[in-house]
Amino acid sequence: MTLSWYLVLAAVLFTIGAVGVLVRRNAIVVFMCVELMLNSVNLTLVTFARASGTLDGQVIAFFVMVVAAAEVVVGLAIIMSIYRTRRSASVDDANLLKY
């Protein structure tokens, strides 16, 4: 099994994540889809690191995880606050600002 399959898998995951952002209504799920995208990138990075024989890609993957964690903290806080106000986590309900 060549490395390129990992890349394809990562790309597929990325696509699934992106499409998930488009089709899911729940803000938490949308956010999870974003996380899926980030993780597919991690997979890509690790694959490339493996391919090039350097550690850089893996180090970057660590960075990405840390950043993703921070993002989760911020994101959940924001989503929580709007959920508590609106009693709904549907992104389609937050629709006051338009045109």
């Binding site: 992106a18 952002v21 488009l22 089709v23 992104v91 389609d92 629709n95 338009k98 045109y99």
Partner: protein, 640 residues
Amino acid sequence: MHTVPASGLLAASWLLIALPLAGAAVLLLGGRRTDRWGHLLGVATVAVAFVIGLACTVQLGGMSGSKSVNLDLFTFISAGTLDVKAGLLFDPLSAIFVLLITGVGSLIHIYSVGYMADDPGRRRFFAYLNLFVAAMLLLVLGNSYVALYVGWEGVGLASFLLIAFWYRRPAAVTAAKKAFVMNRVGDVGLALAIFIMFAQLGTTSFVGVLGSTGALAGGVLTALGLLLLLGACGKSGQFPLQAWLPDAMEGPTPVSALIHAATMVTAGVYLIARSAPIYDHAPAARTVVTIIGAITLMIGAIAGCAYDDIKKVLAYSTVSQIGYMFLAVGLGPIGYVAGLAHLLTHGFFKAGLFLGAGSVMHAMNDSVDMRRFGGLWRRMPVTFATFGLGYLALIGFPLLSGYWTKDAIIEAAFDHGGTTGYVLGGVGVLGAGLTAFYMTRLMFMTFFGRPRWDAGSASTPVDPHESPGVMTVPMIVLAVGSVAAGYLLTQAFPLSAWLSPVFGTNKLESHVVAPLWIGVLVIGAMVLGVAAAWLFVGRREVPVVRPARVSPVVRAARNALYADAINESLFMRPGQWLARALVFVDNRRVDGAVNGIAATLGGSSARLGRAQTGFVRSYALGMLGGAVVVAGALLAVTAG
């Protein structure tokens, strides 16, 4: 053409223009303060100008050698190779015009003192009149076509102001505008002629242009001749621009006498005579001049027969008489002197006739309807006598002015030779007959027969009376002129000799038709005309109300051969229609395009704005789409 610089009194000839101009300025700027003595100042400036003009003429007459005196005052316009001097040219031709303008002008100024005595706007009247005299003098004295043009439009302005002098009357206002605009049509011709002169010869001065006509191509000369003729037609009320002149009678009667009979309307004749060297080389243009003259002569005479308004009849008579003059100057060297002589005598008797008409109107509470006159000779003997002499002079009664000068024109027409000569001569004779008819009709209706005026209102009873001396004296002077001028100018002190420095000596060796026969023909036509008038008007009762059922010929004559109708349907209505259509185009199409762009932008903004739905997921879709496009574009660029 050779000129000499001005010296002596001639160096001061600019005063001729400056004095009336200063008079006008003082009267206009002085306001009410000058009300009490303003009219006197007006009279004085013109009278002094007459004296100066006379003295200049005497000096000119005494000069030997060249009789063209040039006086450059200052540079008017100088740019590139164009160099126009403000300058005067005093020669025998301008001299006779100066004398006519200031002489008749002085008389009419004096007359106006009485005529306008009760008008609150008398000061303004004299200011305009002075302005007119100044402009008219500039017209005949300017030494270049540009200077002439300045005077040309100046008299147009004065004419406009004076026709609309009683500016509350809508008719007067309309007539003034009509006069100005139709004059402008002619002015465009004159202006274009000046442009051609500059383009071809690099100069606009009389000396420069008229001295180099030989260098010009025939087509250019013909064009020049026709364009100058267009200008002349506008100013002189000639076909096809004749319609404004009768309407101009809405102005006060002295104005009709001075401007619309004696002086301004003859400016066209002056222009053509002045441009003689051009016409000498442009026979086609010259023929057109005679044709225009002949047509106008007939139009004026026919229309004159049908009107009941005394001033309109005189106005059409003027149109007709100027037609004679055009006919004359169009005949070439043999006609110049005849035409100018007729111009001078016409100046006397027509001015006299108008002043007489003014006197009658003065007596009749400003009525002009001849059907309401009758039997006035008893009430106004002086007016009757002077008017009668003018009448006789006009119809060409033997030995009076008109006889000499009109005869000369008809003679010259026959002498033109060939079929053209006979036709033109025949028209002249026919015109003489018609002149006799309409003028006799006028005499009968006004001075003879039963009095037909009604009593008028209590406050303004109609009580015909003789006019005061200040009015009758000028009339008497002009009557004397009407009687004597013709003999003096043709026989005693021949105008041809005086003008020979300008036109050379043109003695015809043999006549086509013997002068005696022509004399008989003309007198015969006159007698026929008078007899016809007696038959149709004199021996019958004149109905107070104008008969409505008349033949088409009479109806056409009453409508001045439908000149107004033609102008209206040919120019005015299409013009108005075009203007309205353009307003639509400008608002809807041109401006509409601008507003349309704005509306389109606004509309697309609103439509595009709908894409901003407020839904996060559709935003994300947009971004994803954008990312795909970006990636695709980059790949395409690298691949290609």
